[in-house]
């Protein structure tokens, strides 16, 4: 989403356009849900967090200042809501957290690789990535997800997480280093018989 488009959304919301909020929800629901899911790794929680985040946006739209980044503001609301949710939910051991690839309702685009062997290999890689993402801290994971899947710049990531620019860079670097370490032997997924 370009800066102009973002500013247009912000202006519409601030102006109190009756259909603006619904359009805004339709435009952003996948992104909001995606970040909430990455933070909680649970679809029910993700839906709950995304709905609460949109309600917060609806209530506090008056606090949004024209010209400021709508994306960073929105993601900050989602991120904080997700953190609150994580802190309040009952404790689950990390091993008990559901894996994204192992869930049947993971409806990502179909792997275009031909043949069952290639498909199994891709699924194995996804599972390894999911496992690797659990090894990084919440902040580091959020920094990576916001950059990789939501295309936020480092400055916006810093605003979203409420940290300095240098700290955001550090989170991004550390998350990538940890993922690199975890995925170092991901190519050998099939050879070792590690199947989803």
């Amino acid at each position: 989403m370009s800066r102009e488009e973002e500013a247009r959304w912000a202006d519409r919301l601030i102006a109190g356009d009756p259909s603006a909020f619904r359009d805004f929800v339709e435009a952003y629901k996948r992104k909001v849900y995606g970040l909430a899911y990455e933070m909680t790794r649970n679809h029910d929680d993700a839906e709950d967090i995304s709905q609460v985040s949109f309600m917060k946006v609806h209530r506090s739209i008056g606090t949004l200042k024209p010209g400021l980044g709508l994306n960073a503001w929105l993601y900050r609301i989602v991120y904080n809501t997700a953190l609150d949710h994580i802190r309040k939910r009952p404790f689950y051991p990390r091993e008990a957290l559901p894996s994204l690839a192992s869930e049947p309702h993971f409806d990502g685009p179909r792997d275009p690789a031909p043949g069952p062997e290639k498909a199994a290999e891709a699924a194995c890689l996804r599972r390894r990535i999911d496992e690797a993402l659990t090894k990084v801290t919440e902040r580091e994971r959020a920094a990576f997800i916001l950059r990789h899947y939501h295309d936020l710049k480092v400055k916006e990531i810093a605003q979203t997480l409420g940290v300095s620019l240098g700290t955001a860079k550090c989170y991004l670097f550390r998350s990538l280093r940890k993922l690199q370490k975890e995925l170092a032997d991901a190519e050998t997924c099939l050879d070792t018989g590690d199947r989803p």
Partner: protein, 304 residues
């Protein structure tokens, strides 16, 4: 190494294409000369490519079609019940957190500050009341039967608060000592005998003899040593009081011999040391003449 740390932090931005051209060129130049940073860059680039294999989480089209309806329904529901109780019943922690924060918005640091205050208060309370060393009992130095308490019990003289009798005795000894020193140290052969100023010393001796009688009565048997010393002093003071006004060198010599034979000055010093030692135990100042004087007395006593 410092440059490496700087450039490594920028590698993710370079991989995602967020660096401007100039910075990118500088990074490339660094990567060309730094093998370790180059390895980090290539490793991260491979990782980012691998991550592309995992698409963003998504749901079925049906889920997204009904999303607005569910959100609208929930918003309407929340409007009807602004206390957010329903959200809590349905097990929505996010909704609960939203409501609770608005209803009771105490910042988190306030809890920390309150806890710190409680611990501090508790620490001060424990330090003052539980860990304080037990108060030392007052040192009992002397029983003073001459001044009975209203209940009939003898008054105990503590080291910290001397009774008037003890103070009077101390003053008496001090004055007597000065007088004796003046008499004993006079040398008729070297200086004028009248430098003794006998009329004054005789008058002083008369006063001291009168006071000695009273003191002896009051002391009785409570401090026999002091009573004996005052008796000896009384004898010497009587001799001084009976000196003739004109030069009576033989009488002065007799007085000197009497003072020496009875060790009067030594006994006075000893008494002072005794009193000072009793006071110093309870942390009070030493003796009527202070510490230095006391040390001088001990020295003088040793010499005697």
């Amino acid at each position: 190494m410092k440059r490496c740390r700087y450039w490594r932090k920028r590698i993710p931005e370079a991989i995602y294409g967020d660096l401007d051209i100039k910075t990118r060129e500088k990074l490339d130049r660094h990567l060309a000369v730094c093998e370790r940073c180059s390895d980090v860059y290539s490793g991260m680039a491979v990782t980012v490519r691998k991550m592309d294999a995992r698409p963003a989480p998504d749901r079925s089209p049906q889920f997204w079609e009904d999303y607005w309806d569910r959100l609208e329904g929930r918003m309407a529901h929340e409007m009807e019940e602004p206390d957010g109780a329903q959200a809590g019943k349905k097990g929505h922690p996010a909704g609960v957190s939203l409501r609770r924060r608005r209803a009771f918005s105490v910042p988190r640091w306030a809890y920390g500050a309150a806890a710190a205050m409680v611990f501090l208060t508790l620490g001060i309370f424990i330090g003052r009341n539980l860990l304080r060393p037990p108060a030392e009992p007052p040192l009992l130095t002397r029983v003073m039967p001459s001044e009975p308490a209203p209940g009939g019990q003898p008054v105990l003289e503590t080291g910290s608060a001397a009774s008037p009798l003890a103070v009077r005795a101390s003053r008496y000894l001090k004055r007597s000592r000065v007088l004796l020193l003046a008499v004993v140290n006079s040398d008729p052969r070297a200086e004028d005998v009248f430098s003794l100023n006998l009329p004054l010393q005789k008058k002083m001796s008369e006063e001291l003899v009168k006071e000695a009688t009273v003191l002896k009565k009051e002391l009785r048997s409570s401090d026999r040593r002091l009573e004996r010393l005052i008796s000896d002093l009384e004898t010497i003071l009587l001799q001084i009081a009976n000196l003739k006004s004109d030069a009576d060198l033989s009488a002065v010599e007799i007085i000197k011999a009497g003072v020496e034979s009875r060790d009067i000055l030594f006994k006075i010093d000893l008494n002072v040391v005794r009193r000072s030692a009793g006071k110093s135990i309870v942390g009070q100042s030493l003796g009527p003449w202070g510490e230095n004087r006391n040390q001088a007395n001990v020295k003088a006593a040793a010499e005697a």
